[in-house]
């Protein structure tokens, strides 16, 4: 089984293309994982913030919208290539959720997408693919597709 992590960003598309290519050639089952990160919700209690309820509802709605969009793009790409694949959503901190998914499903391969980052970019993102490689179980092969 191949697990591909997607976030709707352009670099995710490259990761999906690789997952489809490998899924068809091996052949192997492909599952896409999209993590809904509720990070933005923690700011709702900011001093002087007004319209907290509307903000929380809007964050939920827009995060779900982004997940739906990612699902649509993934499904379309798979259907075009004639591959049947699954789409899964998890809620929480992305690194923790991907690790949990790896623990539960034990895929043979994990594919992530990424951007070529400068020093500041690497400092900011702390490289999710890199952190995954450090923390994940070594029985899963990892492929990081850099756009």
């Amino acid at each position: 089984m191949i697990l591909v992590c997607i976030d709707g960003e352009p670099h995710s598309k490259r990761a999906i293309q690789w997952a489809i290519r490998l899924g068809l050639s091996l052949p192997a089952e492909v599952t896409a994982l999209h993590v809904i990160d509720p990070y933005l919700k923690k700011f709702y209690n900011e001093l002087y913030s007004q319209g907290r309820k509307q903000y929380l509802e809007y964050v939920d709605e827009s995060l779900q919208g982004a997940a739906d969009q990612a699902c649509r793009e993934f499904t379309e790409m798979c259907e075009t290539q004639g591959l049947e694949a699954r789409f899964k959503i998890r809620h929480g901190e992305p690194l923790q959720e991907i690790l949990e998914e790896l623990r539960q499903t034990l895929p043979h391969m994990l594919i992530t997408g990424g951007k070529k980052l400068n020093a500041w970019g690497r400092f900011r993102s702390r490289g999710l693919p890199f952190r995954l490689q450090k923390k994940a179980d070594t029985s899963t092969s990892m492929l990081s597709v850099i756009d």
Binding site: Y39, L40, K42, N45, E46, L47, Y48, S49, Q50, Y55
Partner: protein
């Protein structure tokens, strides 16, 4: 008993651990401040350095201590909800500060504050939104950066993002940028103010129009001194009164003007203004009103044992709990999310407001910005 239950949110217990943590943190910070003060009084060199040169007081102890704890010790997640609500304890503190003012202050300093706010705060919002539109920045990002750099930082982003339909990534960039520059301004402006001999009322005015985020604004002014705080709080009240108007302007600028309104979801402008109005400032003005009446039974902050004196004595503790919450909420991970076009917009807006704001404040002078409290 059943009626009492309605006073609490259903899951109120999740706020208890973090809030208690902030209480203990505030207690330790206040006592450390007291201890350093005592050592300074008896002439111990390092305490004098901290007190005089580094300007350490309870504000900076709680903020720096909070940032240090938050970013070096892996705090249990159970503490975060309580830490998050501790910040809002500053609000009752600000209401209580109403006893420091009389109407003459509100008219003079608040009037000046309204004029400054109209020019700087509303001006920033309009200019940023207009420039973003001109340079092809998305409406979602331009709207929240205009409101965020103009009015009250993250609070304004929270109020505006649903209206201009910002995407999650735009919100993360904008919040990270505001927090980054708000925090940088908090820790640099008091030292700049001291180095150029800015008086306390002048610094209060400068902080109130320049610092991007409100929590950091209150902290910087309290750090600088009591007169700086009194001026900053009054102008800040004028500033946040503009929040509903800026949201309304965003609706007009991005939705109504361009004909993008969904016919099935017509925007109720009155409801929008009502929802975004900061009701707590009415409490502040009520206390200003009562203080201005000079009623003997209420006394004043200077009459020991009087109700207003007791209220004034409690505000420092409310601020201390709030500053603990602010310090413990400042995460480097959050600020690292600053980026993209939001970073450039935020940096330019922060620098322009800092420089222009300082120039205007120096032109106005301390006389127009000093809160007398009826003295």
């Amino acid at each position: 008993m059943q009626q009492l239950k309605h006073l609490f949110v259903p899951d109120w217990t999740r706020f208890v651990p973090g809030f208690l943590f902030c209480l203990v943190f505030a207690f330790l910070g206040m006592n450390l401040d007291h201890l350093v003060g005592q050592y300074h009084t008896v002439g111990i060199a390092w305490a004098t350095f901290l007190y005089e040169e580094a300007q350490f007081n309870y504000v900076v102890i709680l903020l720096l201590g909070g940032i240090l704890v938050r970013n070096t010790i892996p705090l249990p997640k159970t503490l975060f909800p309580g830490i998050s609500i501790a910040r809002t304890i500053i609000k009752p503190g600000i209401i209580i500060l109403g006893v420091h003012y009389v109407w003459a202050d509100v008219v003079r300093v608040g009037g000046m504050g309204l004029a400054l706010t109209a020019v700087f705060i509303f001006g920033t919002a309009i200019v940023v939104m207009w420039l973003c539109k001109k340079w092809g920045v998305s409406d979602g990002l331009g709207g929240i950066m205009g409101a965020g750099t103009g009015v009250c930082g993250v609070s304004a982003i929270i109020a505006t993002s649903p209206v201009v339909r910002s995407s999650p990534i735009e919100m993360a960039y904008a919040i990270g940028t505001i927090l980054l520059f708000g925090t940088l301004m908090l820790f640099t402006m008091p030292y700049i103010g001291t180095s150029i001999n800015l008086s306390e009322p002048e610094f209060g005015g400068w902080a109130a129009i320049a610092i991007l985020n409100t929590a950091q604004l209150v902290a910087a002014a309290e750090w600088y001194g009591t007169e700086a705080r009194d001026t900053a709080v009054l102008i800040n009240v004028a500033r946040i009164m503009f929040l509903p108007l800026v949201v309304l302007f965003s609706v007009w600028f991005y939705v109504l003007r361009t004909g993008k309104q969904d016919p099935d979801h017509k925007i109720n402008k009155w409801l929008l203004v009502k929802d975004k109005f900061p009701i707590f400032i009415l409490g502040f003005f009520l206390l200003v009103f009562l203080n201005s009446l000079n009623i003997e039974a209420f006394g004043s902050p200077r009459i020991e044992g009087s109700p207003f004196w007791a209220m004034n004595a409690s505000y420092t503790w409310l601020f201390a709990i709030g500053f603990s919450g602010i310090g413990l909420s400042i995460s480097i991970e959050d600020m690292k999310k600053a980026g993209g076009k939001a970073f450039t917009i935020g940096m330019v807006a922060a620098l322009v407001k800092m420089v222009l704001g300082l120039g205007v404040i120096l032109l106005i002078g301390a006389q127009w910005l000093r809160v007398t409290g009826g003295n």
